[in-house]
């Protein structure tokens, strides 16, 4: 028998002083000590002491790290499986054991217990069920028996306090675990079976076959207010009928857990991020709207109008041209309610305020958007709207420029109604001279580089928008 997985000296137990350097903090006859011993032995036998990470819970076994000479982490109440998962994902080669009592696993941590079991990653959960809260002093546990008297079920457990949770059965009906067994400690035979189950559970993890759950019916003589001998009898006679022993699930699964090593290849990361680098104009930017250091636009329409795409394209083109630019999509409940609007800023220097509360340019794709924002355009500003769907021009003071262009009609003419936002960009470019047309087109080309078949329509749409405006007004 090898017990070398325990520390030679329990330095963490009251600094290892006196007797505490060699004895546990557990009460005489406590089942935890026996589970510890079996677990330590199988870790030793399987030769995984140098790979094991033990997660101790909140409960009487909170100090498991006093004893086990392995990597140790102490988790918050109920969260040991989450911590275990964090360790397994960080270090798939580690053998991770979540050691928990009934309050921890079956009450406060139930959501973690079940959800992490369902993930099925190879970790080992050891559930010590003694039907009572130990650490806090003998209160009702989720696994206390009906009628059991505890500090918080003074007259005995009633149905109104909930009925005992049969965790092993619950876990066995989940798809995640490959092996679930309930064992006990009340006699030599049971202890042998318990040891075997622990060994098998660890083996399944070592071989990368899956998640295992071992429920151990254990004695808490202190709070049962019994001698250890009577506590053993109580587990055998009272607990076992409610929590039947045995294997609840045992799947044959081939080893499958071979996670890839993390990649740190720069090209791979940048490629995957989907973020297209912008080739920035090396020439200093030429302000295309003289007198404006910072121009702000609002593009507004219904959900499918493409206001966001057009706004983003504009911002990218501006950045490529050498300006600073920002884009903020409509945000908040509006984005669900059908209206979609985008704020864009383009600045020769730095965009200071990215909001467009008073847009110099409003591009409106539908009547509600026009009604909502036309009034916010300051003197000298431009309102550009889709005259196909908006039949009445906005009533604004005459020092605002108003231009209706049939975005939808022009898009229909090239049999692609969805490119009306690009028509709008063409119109915008022609009406304001904001950014050179070639810059907008090259940005368009870059964005469509994975869908080259879409390019001609989009280019046509842009030109159509431009031409429509040129035919209406003198280019500024």
């Amino acid at each position: 028998m090898s017990t070398n997985v325990f520390y030679d000296h329990f330095e963490r137990h009251s600094h290892g002083q006196g007797l505490k350097g060699h004895s546990t903090h557990y009460c005489a006859g406590c089942g935890h000590g026996i589970v510890h011993r079996s677990l330590a032995e199988v870790i030793g036998e399987l030769g995984v002491q140098d790979r094991t990470v033990l997660i101790s819970p909140v409960g009487c076994s909170v100090f498991a790290h006093y004893y086990f000479d392995v990597g140790n982490s102490q988790a918050a109440h109920g969260r040991a499986p989450a911590v275990a998962l964090g360790h397994k994902l960080a270090n798939p080669g580690a053998i991770v054991i979540s050691y928990q009592g009934d309050g921890d696993l079956a009450s406060i941590g139930l959501a973690e217990t079940i959800s992490i079991a369902q993930m099925g990653l190879p970790i080992t959960v050891v559930f010590v069920n003694n039907a009572i809260y130990g650490m806090t002093g003998g209160q009702l546990a989720p696994t206390s028996l009906m009628g059991q008297k505890t500090a918080t079920s003074v007259e005995g457990r009633t149905p109104a306090m909930g009925r005992p949770l049969k965790m092993a059965e619950l876990m066995a009906q989940l798809d995640g675990p490959v092996y679930v067994e309930r064992v006990a400690l009340f006699d030599a035979r049971q202890r042998m079976k318990a040891r075997k189950a622990l060994r098998k559970a660890l083996q399944l993890q070592i071989e990368g076959r899956g998640y295992a759950f071992i429920e151990v019916l254990a004695e808490c003589p202190t709070h049962l207010k019994m001698s250890p001998e009577h506590a053993e009898a109580w587990v055998r006679e009272e607990m076992v009928p409610v929590f039947p022993l045995g294997t609840k699930k045992d799947l044959t699964v081939e080893p499958w857990f071979h996670p890839a090593a993390p990649s740190f290849e720069p090209e791979k990361i940048l490629g995957l991020s989907g973020a297209e680098p912008v080739e920035v104009n090396k020439e200093p930017p030429i302000p295309h709207i003289p007198g404006l250091e910072d121009i702000c636009l609002k593009l507004a329409g219904a959900g499918g109008d493409g206001a966001q795409t057009a706004a983003l394209l504009l911002a990218r083109a501006a950045i490529a041209e050498g300006y600073d630019a920002t884009h903020i999509p409509s945000y908040g409940p509006e984005s669900r309610g059908g209206t979609s609007y985008a704020d864009v800023h383009i600045a020769a220097g730095e965009v200071l305020n990215p909001a467009a509360a008073e847009p110099d340019i409003l591009v409106a794709f539908n009547a509600p958007s026009l009604a909502k924002f036309a009034g916010s355009v300051p003197p000298g500003g431009l309102i550009l709207y889709d005259s196909t769907v908006i039949t009445t021009p906005p009533e604004v003071p005459s020092d605002r420029r108003v231009l209706g262009v049939p975005f939808t009609q022009l898009a229909r003419e090239i049999s692609r109604p969805m490119v009306k936002n690009v028509v709008a960009l063409g119109a915008l470019q022609a009406a304001t001279g904001l950014l050179p047309p070639e810059r907008i087109l090259s940005t368009l080309r870059q964005l469509l580089k994975d869908k080259p078949s879409m390019l001609p329509v989009n280019e046509t749409a842009f030109l159509a928008g431009q031409r429509a405006v040129e035919s209406m007004v003198a280019v500024p």
Partner: protein, 470 residues
């Protein structure tokens, strides 16, 4: 059992380590153990007595003993090796799948990034890309607007980078997964938003207590309760003063551009490891959505493994991640260590950005997106002849009081601009009070409920202060 050779090793008991529970008695089929009769003077307990004449070394008693140093196999018995052959794990399971580290402390590696044109990214994406460049391959979270897009990008990328994105059952589970991966010594993060951040606070307290690094990107939204999903800055209080129970603090960054979302996320990882403490990046909903130009750093980081990591290998076997210290003097000493760490962060990590502050008499104080509106207002105020400047804290904890103090002699008015009913102003006032400096009059522009202060109202307040002065 009775056929076992009598040469097997026999149990051995150091009476001082026996608690007298008697579980071994029932276990022995040969009745070799009897209850003791005398109180052990060292323990005050009554150890059992062994009579090993009939003992066949079956070890059933040992299996029954809850005490590791209670019943054991006689360590002086010579035949141990010959009798019990342990299976060779290498034969059973093949080679270990981890490299066995020979040193506990593996340094990080800097990998050059190719020269790259700037990217156009929204704030949450910039933060996600920053995290990847900082070497983070483990992201855990729970979907919550308006932070979800960062998580979604990670969910898309991490599986292809040998990393892990886990959508946890709740934020409570997510933060504890972070505790695990951070405790294993690797960079780990989450994207969350105000209600989710509330749920994570318990876990953050544990991380701070156990000195576990991790980065929390909180894209703040309107509250309290479910509030709404529009931008607010009302978690400043939580991040600066309320990181769960106990004596907790963490560095709190307040970016105001997508570029800063990337840069500060990268810094957050480095500092969370330097101090072995979580770092909070507070963005607002507007910034999370804002697309802007983002330049990448020259290098990315491949993380090593710190000496303290709970990795489970021999080099790290003695390590423990833990926040429980049962004895009062131990916990007091632990808190003194934390205090020293907080003091070091306070002294070394204050960051701020000053815009036209050289001769500023009206000092606008703002962070995150409202700082950009404030910058616009300062610019206009300047054009109208008002000596206005913007003091933008980049760290909210520690508040950059050092830089602010230097400006104060010429400042006649402070205007705090925030999307919160005064949480930034509280931090400012607290910092001024601790610094024991004369405070100029403070006024403010406060919006909340998802509405950000606009440039026009900030400007109006700046001009009002001038009116009050003349």
């Amino acid at each position: 059992m009775s056929n076992l050779p009598p040469s097997r090793p026999k149990p051995f008991l150091e009476p001082a380590y026996c608690k007298g529970c008697l579980r071994c008695i029932e276990a022995c089929p040969r009745e070799c153990i009897t209850p003791g009769t005398e109180i052990n003077p060292v323990t005050g307990l009554v150890p059992v007595i062994l009579h090993l004449e009939n003992c066949n070394g079956c070890t059933l008693c040992v299996q029954a003993c809850p005490e590791p140093f209670g019943l054991r196999i006689d360590p002086t018995h010579g035949g141990l090796e010959g009798e019990f052959r342990l299976e060779d794990p290498e034969k059973l399971f093949g080679k270990k799948i981890v490299e066995v580290l020979t040193t506990g402390d593996l340094p990080d590696t800097q990998i050059p990034l190719p020269d790259c044109e700037p990217l156009v990214l929204k704030g949450t994406y910039a933060s996600a890309v920053g995290a990847l460049l900082a070497g983070c391959r483990h992201v855990y979270g729970y979907p919550i607007t308006p932070s979800t897009e960062g998580a979604e990008l990670m969910a898309k990328m991490l599986p292809k980078l040998g990393g892990s994105w886990i959508q946890a059952v709740s934020e409570v589970a997510a933060v504890n997964m972070m505790y695990g991966t951070g405790g294993a010594g690797l960079p780990v993060m989450t994207f969350t938003s105000s209600p989710g951040f509330s749920l994570m606070l318990e876990g953050i307290s544990y991380m701070i207590g156990a000195e576990v690094p991790g980065v929390f990107v909180n894209i703040m939204r309107g509250g309290p309760g479910l509030g709404n999903i529009a931008p607010e800055q009302t978690d400043i209080k939580l991040a600066c003063r309320g990181l769960g129970h106990g004596n907790t603090h963490a560095l709190v960054f307040a970016p105001s551009t997508p570029q800063e979302m990337l840069d500060l996320t990268i810094d957050a990882f480095a500092l969370s490891f330097r101090y072995r403490n979580p770092v909070v990046v507070l963005g607002d909903g507007y910034l999370g959505q804002m697309t802007g130009v983002v330049k990448l750093p020259s290098h990315l980081l491949k993380p090593g493994l710190p000496a303290w990591a709970v990795w489970g290998d021999r080099a790290h076997r003695h390590n423990l991640v833990n926040s429980i210290h049962l004895s009062e003097p131990d916990l007091e000493a632990h808190n003194e260590n934390l205090n020293a760490k907080y003091a070091a962060m306070g002294a070394c990590q204050q960051r701020s950005d000053l815009y036209r502050c050289e001769d500023a008499e009206v000092l606008v104080v703002a962070c995150n997106t409202p700082a950009r509106m404030a910058k616009g207002a300062v610019e206009v105020a300047r054009s109208r002849g008002i000596k206005a400047g913007l003091f933008r804290p980049i760290t909210l904890w520690p508040f950059p009081i050092g830089a602010l103090k230097e400006l104060l002699p010429q400042v006649t008015q402070i205007v705090v601009v925030e999307a919160s009913p005064g949480q930034l102003e509280d931090e400012l006032r607290l910092a001024l009070s601790h610094a024991d400096v004369a405070t100029p009059p403070i006024t403010h522009v406060r919006r909340f409920g998802g509405i950000l202060p606009q440039q026009s109202e900030i400007l109006a307040r700046i001009e009002e202060t001038q009116g009050a002065l003349v």
